[in-house]
């Protein structure tokens, strides 16, 4: 029989406001096994924890029930407390009487009654708890960063600088990501390339960093400290070790009419290409869909001109298997498709562009060498309309836009408007906005400068429709302040498209068993306290894959993720979760049902000799669980018909005891 202590927390008035904590403590004192029961203002405080420790010693407690906030909040705290008192940490159960009781029920009698029942369930469970000891597993001291944008670059550099090897996997032929496509950055207006490319070079030169460019993660197995990852290096038909990046092949390639992704398709590139001058690795890649040699076996020009002999038309996709201790997701974002926004005529007119396209138009390395020219006729636009929140804050239809605020558009639009007025003072610039959101250091000042110093026309209201007519774009919009409908004949319209997580994130999340929100942004382990960790142990989040972010935020989160990874890789061993499945071999039929449903491959079968009840010996096939691999979902326990498989910490009899206590 257990000797259980019950500790009821007031949580100030958070619990005590709706739950009569004294009554709860009194009621639970009568439960079987309970030998001590008390209440206190803040159980999680040092004083509260000391109270528990003292009670354990004074009353020889063998189990603890804390009636307090969610176990997701303080279960770990009280387990440590138990350990400090010399108890096994898994002899603690939490009754959640805050989030699931005092905060959702308003009346004291109701809240109190429910709190008592939840407490009884916890007591019933503790009565059946057994001490559990976590297993240990080694840590592979190597990190994987998925995504080579500024987030991935910064994370990789920080981890590598701490002395741990890092691999970056990037789907594109070069790292650099979205930041490499930007012209200037707000609010300081320094040139994106000038601050990014040195970092890219650092990555390339770091002896602890390997870059797998033009590569994808195809399989992830294992668990924190011991991930087995398969990386597909897509065939680029160029030997990376030989290519010098001289660009001769690019010049000679006859297939020049392929939309250039780097310039948002606003100009063309050849079939063999280097995305941009500062690409890392600076290695050519052949676009297999465009190359006549690969398609028809005719041409071979690049191979002839390559002095290094780097071209290899027979190259195949290569699969690399590597072990990692930690994985950082930095898959970034993309602007959403504008195809569904018929009212803005994006697909009808070349002169309706997205902001990212505008970046390329104003970038010196862009399709127009930095001159702001209309994509349709190459003329200088005199009247430019910027439309904000296109697809952001759009709750009405999920297939069209996104419900969230994309966060960065207000600032980059201000930047675009300001730079346009700065470079081309003869241009009239209109910005249609719903709200201008500028929380950030020097952000609002920046926006005000655009209005006050650069004379950008900020109009509160939305553009209703855009109709291309001749070489102008008829913009119809409302001005809510002056309560007028405006009709503007614009030369160029720039849409601040909402941003969304990269499409590769969803399948990756499935591989990683990391959870995502409804918008496909990765979920953090805790929105405030663990913002760079995924709930899946060993998986960390960096940059916009977790939510819209600007560059400074991304970089700081990247650093934070790196420090978490370093903290993990510093350890030689990890203590696992002791709440894992285990099989009672005497009852196991060897039927393999559990093995079939285990997502981790944690169950294996062996033939063992048993002494049977009828005094014979038999060799039987029985299941055994690898506790280091098992994550404790419990799927096998239900698949098992004989009930031989059970889950420690959430055993059949424990859950049924909780059911019984609740239904009493």
């Amino acid at each position: 029989m257990q000797r259980i202590g019950v500790f009821v927390c007031w949580c100030g008035s958070n619990i005590a406001g709706t739950v009569d904590v004294k009554a709860v403590a009194q009621a639970l004192k009568l439960e079987p096994g309970v030998v001590f029961s008390t209440d206190y203002q803040y159980m999680c405080s040092q004083a509260g924890q000391n109270m528990i420790i003292d009670a354990v010693k004074e009353h020889n407690l063998t189990g603890i029930v804390v009636c307090s906030c969610s176990p997701r909040m303080h279960e770990a705290t009280f387990r440590k407390t138990a350990a400090a008192a010399g108890l096994n940490p898994y002899m603690v159960e939490i009754a959640n009487i805050r989030e699931q009781c005092s905060w959702v029920h308003k009346e004291m009698p109701i809240g109190t009654e429910k709190a008592i029942i939840l407490g009884k369930a916890a007591v019933a469970k503790v009565n059946l708890n057994t001490p559990l000891t976590p297993g240990e597993s080694p840590v592979t001291k190597r990190a994987l960063v998925i995504g080579g944008g500024i987030a991935g670059i910064q994370t990789a550099l920080d981890i590598a600088d701490a002395g741990f090897p890092v691999d970056i996997v990037e789907t594109k032929p070069t790292i650099g990501g979205k930041m490499a496509q930007l012209d200037k950055t707000f609010p300081t207006l320094d040139c994106a390339a000038c601050i990014l490319t040195p970092k890219m070079v650092d990555v390339a030169q770091h002896d602890k960093i390997r870059i797998f460019s033009y590569s994808e993660v195809t399989e992830v197995k294992g668990f924190v400290g011991n991930f087995d990852v398969t990386i597909k290096k897509k065939a680029r038909f160029v030997d990376e070790t030989k290519c010098t990046g001289c660009g001769d092949c690019v010049d000679k390639c006859p297939m020049k009419k392929n939309p250039n992704e780097f310039n948002m398709g606003m100009d063309n590139r050849s079939a063999i290409y280097i995305p941009f001058a500062q690409a890392v690795p600076k290695v050519a890649t052949i676009d297999a869909g465009a190359c006549t040699m690969l398609k028809k076996g005719k041409c071979g020009l690049c191979s002839k001109v390559c002095g290094a002999g780097a071209i290899d038309y027979t190259q195949k996709d290569q699969f690399i298997e590597e072990k990692y201790g930690a994985i950082v997701v930095a898959t970034g974002f993309n602007p959403i498709s504008m195809d569904k926004f018929d009212e803005y005529a994006y697909s009808q007119s070349k002169d309706v562009i997205t902001s990212l396209e505008f970046e390329r138009l104003t970038n010196a390395a862009g399709p127009t060498q930095g001159k702001l020219l209309r994509p349709s006729d190459g003329k200088h636009p005199h009247k430019i309309v910027f439309v904000q929140c296109v697809g952001s804050r759009c709750a009405s239809c999920a297939e069209k836009g996104k419900e969230y605020c994309s966060k960065i558009c207000c600032m980059y639009t201000a930047k675009h408007a300001m730079l346009t007025r700065d470079k081309y003072p003869d241009t009239e610039v209109y910005v249609f906005y719903i709200d201008v959101r500028t929380p950030g250091k020097n952000f609002d000042e920046f926006y005000r400068r655009a209005v006050e110093e650069y004379g950008v026309n900020y109009i509160k209201g939305m553009v209703g429709k855009i109709t291309p007519e001749g070489d102008v774009l008829k913009v119809q919009a409302s001005d809510l302040i002056s309560n007028k409908q405006l009709h503007i004949d614009a030369d160029l319209v720039v849409l601040a498209a909402a941003i969304e997580p990269d499409k590769s994130a969803r399948p990756l999340a499935t591989m990683l068993t990391a959870s995502m929100d409804t918008n496909d942004f990765f979920t953090e382990a805790h929105p405030k306290l663990r913002p760079v960790e995924s709930p899946t142990a060993g998986v960390f989040l960096s940059g916009a894959c977790q939510g819209p972010k600007d560059i400074p935020e991304t970089v700081s989160q990247a650093g934070a993720a790196a420090s978490k990874v370093i903290g993990l890789l510093c350890k030689d061993k990890l203590t696992g979760n002791p709440c894992v499945a285990s099989s009672n071999e005497m009852m196991c039929n060897g039927c393999s049902s559990c093995e079939r449903v285990c997502p981790y491959g944690a169950i294996t079968y062996t033939d063992k000799e048993f002494r049977m009840p009828d005094r014979t010996t038999q060799v039987r096939r029985v299941a055994s669980v690898n506790p280091a691999v098992c994550q404790g979902c419990g799927c096998c326990t239900v698949a098992c018909p004989s009930g031989a498989m059970d889950l420690r910490g959430f055993a059949n009899n424990q859950i049924m005891a909780e059911v019984d206590a609740i239904c009493k």
Partner: protein, 340 residues
């Protein structure tokens, strides 16, 4: 002897039911019969016998013995024993009547089982003579006369009437209570029926089955017989034979936690189960062979040894009809006693 016209049968049931509950065999949906309470409209089954024997009415499959109520850390014991009310079991066959004697020797010897005793005391058994025994019947082997059933009242059903004869004081009182519906009668029709049935009994396929090889004192001789190995090897270990058997009397006592207390109840158990007679050291009969042997040795050797030669099988044939693999006491008796 009294005679009740079959036309008055329902009146008779109704008259009895006015003061006592009356149980009688009725047909179930699946075509088999069971004992059920009579109520207006209930039809008396023509079946030779019920699937479950009438022992249920004295020794139900489950029965609460006592209750504990818990409140906080206090336990209160609640006595739920109560005196049975008078009831009538109607239409009991001779074999089943005999089974009550087997059960009595278990439950009514010291210490007396008060639950059983109370019911037994308040029951009036109206036994019915057989006229169409089945090929599975072998009551004669155990000295039972199916045409002259014991019980408080013996009854014979002919095409037109039910003849009733009291054997005990209880029976006489019972017949007295329904005197108005009956009339005095001679035994001619009953005698004719008895003779006819006795002829059939002689022709039954199992008529020559004997118990010669069995009885008290045969333990040593039979214990190591290789027959047990052979006959038990396909036994499924289910409890069908024991649960349909009118003389099997084993039970288990269990506690059920209701959340607010505990109900202590007993329920039938079966020596065929691997969980039967589990003790601190485990189970004392570990193989199906041992469990199989136990059942038949108990019926044919141990019980007679302790009860002046009375076998605890009454030849009702239920296990012959219901065993999923058709293994039964007759096959065992024949195999050990020498085939034919």
């Amino acid at each position: 002897m009294r005679k009740l016209s079959l036309d008055n049968l329902n009146k008779f049931f109704a008259a009895v039911a006015e003061s006592k509950t009356i149980y009688l065999p009725v047909d179930q949906k699946d075509g088999s019969a069971k004992y059920a309470k009579w109520a207006e409209g209930t039809e008396w089954s023509n079946a030779l016998n019920t699937v479950r024997s009438p022992k249920d009415l004295f020794f139900p499959q489950t029965e609460d013995l006592m209750e504990f109520k818990t409140e906080g850390k206090n336990i209160e014991i609640i006595d739920i024993r109560k005196e049975s009310e008078d009831f009538v079991i109607f239409g009991v066959r001779a074999c089943d009547v005999k089974s009550f004697e087997v059960l009595d020797r278990v439950f009514l010897s010291e210490p007396v089982d008060s639950f059983y005793a109370s019911r037994r005391e308040h029951a009036i058994i109206v036994a019915l003579a057989c006229t169409r025994p089945s090929e599975t019947c072998f009551c004669t082997t155990f000295g039972i006369d199916a045409t002259e059933p014991a019980g408080d009242v013996s009854a014979w059903k002919t095409d037109s009437a039910l003849y009733l004869k009291a054997n005990t004081e209880k029976g006489e009182a019972f017949l007295k209570s329904i005197e108005a519906l009956t009339e005095d009668a001679d035994t001619a029709e009953v005698d004719a029926q008895k003779t006819k049935t006795a002829e059939i009994m002689k022709k039954l396929p199992l008529a020559d089955l004997t118990t010669d090889a069995f009885g008290g004192g045969k333990t040593e001789e039979l214990w190591n017989n290789p027959v047990w190995d052979e006959m038990s090897q396909t036994c499924l270990g289910c409890g069908t034979c024991t649960f349909v058997c009118p003389t099997c009397q084993c039970y288990d006592i269990k506690d059920f936690n209701t959340g607010n207390g505990v109900i202590r109840y007993r329920c039938w158990d079966s020596c065929m189960y691997s969980e039967f007679t589990r003790m601190a050291h485990g189970n004392n009969r570990l193989s199906q062979k041992e469990r199989f042997r136990q059942r038949f040795m108990h019926k044919l050797v141990y019980y007679p040894e302790n009860n002046e030669g009375l076998f605890s099988c009454v030849g009702c044939g239920r296990c012959l009809a219901k065993c999923p693999i058709s293994m039964n006491i007759v096959k065992v008796m024949k195999k050990i006693g020498g085939d034919k």
